[in-house]
Point group: C2
Chain length 145, copies 2
DNA sequence: GGCAATCAGGACCTTATTTGTCCTATTAAC
DNA sequence: GTTAATAGGACAAATAAGGTCCTGATTGCC
């Protein structure tokens, strides 16, 4: 169905929430604010922290805060952080495993333009675009619908 | 991992193959040509026929053929045919079921720009672009990488 | 008219992925 | 030292995808 994981959705919600909080907020606090179970939110934040999208402070009075403004975080970054590299087909995963029908496959390697087009589209949408429900820079609704 | 289903991959391979065959080809014939098990290829072809992307002829000497040239079939069409509508999050599926955290969700409905950007990107790549490993019309590699 | 080839449609089982939860260790404030 | 908080990983359950097979309908050929 070409959809992204639910965790990515949670990540966006958490980041937007963090931006609104303007400071350090704890995992349970964020969970309550966006209405998602705490353990799950904690998991997402840990991943985001590992990728450097949020900064964490441990210990009492600790919590998470954004490492940069929403406007400089792209949707592509979040997807990569949570779901891994954006590669629509296994052919381009570069994971060493070669598709067994490669020799006969008439489209071997041909998904690359599709992958790059998707990446490009996602890199041009920042989280602040989403927070404001606006269109990405340079695009008009007529070009996109 | 934001990937599309393997069946979509098979569909592309089958359609490109059908284009090369230039005429009617049977399901087993296509399966042999692209190196994918026959039952699975048959399943894909049935879906494609149902969506009008290929025309089928029943009975002896029957088979499948393209309904239009490759250049007028977009990647988006294939994905929609196999995987259903392109909607990255369940929020926008429009399936009547309302997300239970909708009221608190700070990004409710905000994925729309992302979805439209993805659709736009996929609609600008035709199967003939893939068959030739070329870039979609109007785009240069520098704009996409 | 009968036989063989071929698509149509759906049921079904198996496997892989994703979710969500929990447990233990570590860190820092008071 | 106690409490509040993150770090990291292990794990079971739920969901989705993939693949196979069976039965029925249609058409060409002998």
């Amino acid at each position: 169905m070409l959809k992204l994981s639910r965790l990515t959705d949670y990540a966006v919600a958490a980041l937007v929430r963090l931006s609104a909080a303007e400071g350090v907020e704890t995992s349970p606090g964020i969970a309550a604010a966006i209405g998602i179970p705490e353990p799950t939110v904690a998991k997402v934040l840990k991943i985001l922290a590992g990728q450097g999208l949020v900064l964490s402070t441990r210990g009492a009075r600790g919590g998470y805060r954004l490492s940069r403004p929403l406007s400089s975080i792209t949707v592509a970054e979040i997807i990569v952080a949570i779901d891994g590299p954006i590669a629509l087909t296994s052919c381009v995963e570069g994971s060493g495993g070669v598709c067994e029908s490669l020799l006969r496959c008439p489209v071997a390697g041909r998904w690359d333009p599709v992958n790059t087009a998707i990446r490009s589209a996602l890199q041009n949408i920042s989280l602040s675009d989403m927070a404001h429900a606006a269109l990405p820079r340079g695009l008009r609704m007529s070009e996109v619908a």
